[in-house]
């Protein structure tokens, strides 16, 4: 008899714990969290920012939008270029990313809160330092280059990193250089 009562109590406690979990997950599901999305379709074309005999810097902007149901914090955002020496050796490539509305030149991302439905505009800058003394010649063999935008998010759930890929194609770079040199003439 005692064992039966004890079993009933244990079953009751387990039931309450399970109920608590179900209610918690229902709230989490209903409340949601922040969710950031790089709006790749709204990326501007790369354009030349500065150019000299031995180097050229191109840039573009791309918005990141909080499409989630809560405000979220972009703790860190940075970019990474993928161009191994096996594929291209014409120049040294360096990338930098900053908030277009509060640009910095130190590569540091100042963490910021992005409200639900709001956006931040990211400014991506890619610098090519030539090796031959003629940057236009160095860029002739430039292939398509993937660029990952990597961002760290903190919200109502655990922090995480995510990434989104854009591409600087050889054709887009050629057009940017052509536009710049045409305007310079």
């Amino acid at each position: 008899m005692f064992v039966l009562e004890l079993t009933k109590v244990a079953a009751g406690i387990i039931f309450l714990i399970c109920l608590g979990f179900i209610i918690y997950w229902a709230i989490v599901r209903w409340q949601g969290d922040c969710h950031f999305q790089i709006m790749k379709k709204r990326r501007t074309p790369f354009a030349v920012r500065s150019m000299s005999l031995n180097q050229v810097e191109v840039s573009c902007t791309v918005p990141v939008r909080n499409t989630g149901k809560q405000a979220g914090t972009l703790m860190d955002v940075f970019l990474r270029t993928y161009l191994p020496s096996e594929q291209y050796q014409g120049s040294v490539v360096r990338g930098c990313l900053t908030d277009a509305d509060k640009p910095r030149d130190d590569g540091y991302w100042e963490s910021c809160i992005v409200n639900q439905g709001a956006e931040k505009t990211l400014l991506l800058m890619i610098r090519f330092e030539g090796k031959s003394g003629n940057i236009l010649r160095d860029m002739e063999s430039f292939p398509d280059m993937p660029i990952d935008i990597i961002y760290q998010v903190v919200g109502r759930s655990d922090w995480y990193y995510a990434k989104s890929r854009i591409e600087l194609t050889a054709e887009e770079l050629r057009q940017a250089l052509y536009r710049h040199t045409s305007e310079a003439r």
Binding site: I27, Q70, I113, V154
Partner: protein, 214 residues
């Protein structure tokens, strides 16, 4: 009678390798007289005490996960890691109990019970709350605030010292003060945020001629 003046003091970025008393002496020592009050920004005092952490260093407990879901979006407790950081200071069960008490209090029209019982929850600056390089850190409230103020007063020869939490929303609170000062009065003097915004790097303000204005 000399006029009351608020003088913000520019410093470099202070870190946990600095001591707030030494920093005040270095940057403001020559301007301080025995008629002045030294005011230090609470987050900078906490940083010099090493009282900050990063979200990546925190293991979030289930109590923080549950409570965080019931907090409105604005404020440091809306962040999971802000909540966890507060729990490390106040104790997770104390926070949970206070949270339930606070919720019950609201039902009968009594507000502020939670923050009155868990002071750190109201003092914590979540990520983005402090200027770089601490924008990625959660900064606690300062420890031993009254004792630090007494040390500042004795080391500088000032009339008094306070640690204050002031923002641009016309909110000013004195979290610690040396003996003999009226914190409400100092808070009302600081209401227009003479510390400026974080990027101005003026974490110390001297209230000149305070003794004369009494």
């Amino acid at each position: 009678m000399a006029e009351l003046q608020l003088i913000p003091v520019h410093t470099r970025i202070l870190t946990k390798k600095d001591h707030i008393v030494d920093a005040i002496r270095e940057y403001a020592g020559k301007d301080i007289t025995d008629r002045d009050i030294i005011c230090s920004a609470e987050s900078v005092v906490a940083i010099t005490q090493g009282r900050y952490t990063r979200p990546e260093e925190l293991n979030v407990c289930w109590q923080a996960r549950v409570m965080n879901r019931f907090v409105p979006p604005a404020g440091s407790m809306a962040s999971l890691y802000g909540m966890q950081a507060a729990m490390l200071e106040e104790g997770r069960w104390n926070m949970m109990f206070s949270f339930i008490l606070g919720a019950l209090g609201k039902l009968v029209g009594k507000r502020g019970i939670f923050y009155a019982r868990c002071r750190q929850a109201s003092l914590i600056d979540d990520v983005t709350g402090t200027m770089p390089p601490f924008d990625k850190s959660i900064v606690y409230g300062p420890a031993d605030a009254d004792k630090v103020c007494q040390e500042i007063k004795e080391a500088t020869g000032a009339y008094g010292a306070v640690i204050a939490d002031v923002n641009d929303l016309k909110r000013a609170a004195v979290l610690g003060h040396s003996q003999g000062l009226d914190p409400q009065k100092i808070a009302s003097i600081l209401i227009d945020n003479p510390f400026g915004n974080a990027s101005q790097k003026t974490p110390i303000v001297i209230i000149k001629n305070f003794k004369d204005a009494l």
